[in-house]
Amino acid sequence: MTTAKAASIILAKELRLEFRTRELLTATVIFALVVVVLFSFAFDPTAAESRRYGPGLLWIAFLFAGSLMLNPSFAREQNNETLDALRMAPISSFAILLGKILANFIFMSLAELALVPVFAVLYNLSLAGIVWRLILVLVLGTLGLTVTGTVFSAVSAHARMRELLLPLLLLPLLTPLLIAAVESTASLFAEQPALDRTWLAFLAGFDIVFLTASWLLCDHLLAE
């Protein structure tokens, strides 16, 4: 069976599991919202300040929410040792990892889609005319987040204190992504919205590097 087909089966399973309860998705959105609201106490968002700090705040909210949401990805498979059942099937390790990466990407994207309009309203930022470009930035940034986050979910599933460990491993690693995503977003919210090619290329590069690394190392990630 090809990796793509196997990954899509795993993806379907992940989606079915999550949409049955939607607990993780709901919790993620609410948590991100909480972060956004908390930040509003830290500074009084005038229009100029919103434009300046808004993007950073948005992406920090996504990173925090993401690093909590990504934990159960592999931790859940420890119930009833279902990961063993997946590993025993005639599919590659990368298919399992890829299926989960895609699932997390979809979940994170849905959370972001819910959050961005709310954020725009709370901080009086206009989304007019930049929606598609913003989606491009969100896609590239979220891809990097979910690739590395899913990998580290697999890593921390074997460790104690994994809820605390995952953010500790993930957030320092993601600082380049944070910078790139924030800058790209900021240039879209600027007075003259523009797509920053340099940072977008950087994001794409980041995604490619870590997706390749995940592919090369996936056997070691899932081994007993």
Partner: protein, 242 residues
């Protein structure tokens, strides 16, 4: 008809840090044998089974799958099968290996897809029918009793018609009806020429099917009734399942 496959352990050692689970186990299980694996807790039975399931690799030594002499006519196919053994191994483990938040039918369908089986809907329906869970096909596994979960776990393991069946105390949690179904199922598998390696700690009907008994202790093979021997002596010492 699944191909006949045997399992060989060549001086297998497995360590987890400073804990030695297996210390030099050499065992050759021929295709079609029904081996009862005995031993106290901590003897290494689970580790041996998981190793045969290719879930972990030995610290030293090797696990090999061998095709039976009957398949010698189709040597190419036999070789190809041995190279990709996952398709031919079924494991009933300590845990159910089932997703609690999926229904019985969804669980079986998932694994039917992963194993690339034909006519998935029919296969799943037949399997559920066979283990008596057809009426609960659409219920979440979370709502099942222990016995029902175990029955589904066994059905899941056998779904892709494996040639090598590994069972880790499979009777645990099964009620009398479940045990009867399970024994009948095993009898059919044995008749089909499957190789069975089953660890048990108490007697039940399925033990009558055993052609060989191997007793482990402290990570080593202590007693082995052998491929040609009589397992009943070793099995007699087991107490009866309630």
């Amino acid at each position: 008809m699944p191909a006949s496959i045997g399992v060989s352990f060549h001086n297998v050692e497995k360590r987890f840090g400073s804990l030695a689970a297996l210390r030099g186990v050499s065992l050759e299980i021929r295709a079609g044998e029904f081996v009862a694996l005995l031993g106290p807790n901590g003897a290494g039975k689970t580790t041996l089974l998981r190793m045969a399931a290719l879930l972990m690799s030995p610290t030293r030594g090797a696990v090999q799958f061998t095709s039976s002499e009957a398949a010698v006519n189709d040597r190419v196919r036999a070789q190809a099968i041995v190279l990709r053994p996952e398709q031919l191994i079924g494991l009933v483990g300590h845990s159910t290996l089932l997703y609690d938040e999926l229904t019985a039918a969804e669980n079986l369908t998932l694994f039917a897809r992963l194993y690339a089986l034909d006519k998935i809907a029919d296969t799943v329906a037949t399997a559920l029918d066979d283990c008596g869970l057809a009426t609960r096909a659409g219920s979440l596994v979370r709502t099942f009793s222990r016995g029902m979960r175990q029955r589904l776990a066994i059905a899941r393991a056998l779904l892709h018609q494996p040639s090598v069946i590994l069972l880790d105390e499979p009777a645990a949690g099964l009620d009398r009806q479940g045990l009867a179904w399970f024994s009948a199922r095993l009898a059919r598998l044995k008749a089909d020429g499957c190789t069975v390696l089953m660890s048990i700690h108490a007697r039940n009907e399925s033990l009558d099917l055993a052609t060989r008994a191997v007793a482990l202790a402290g990570g080593r093979v202590e007693h082995d009734s052998g491929s040609a021997g009589d397992p009943r002596v070793l099995l007699a010492a087991l107490r009866r399942e309630q």
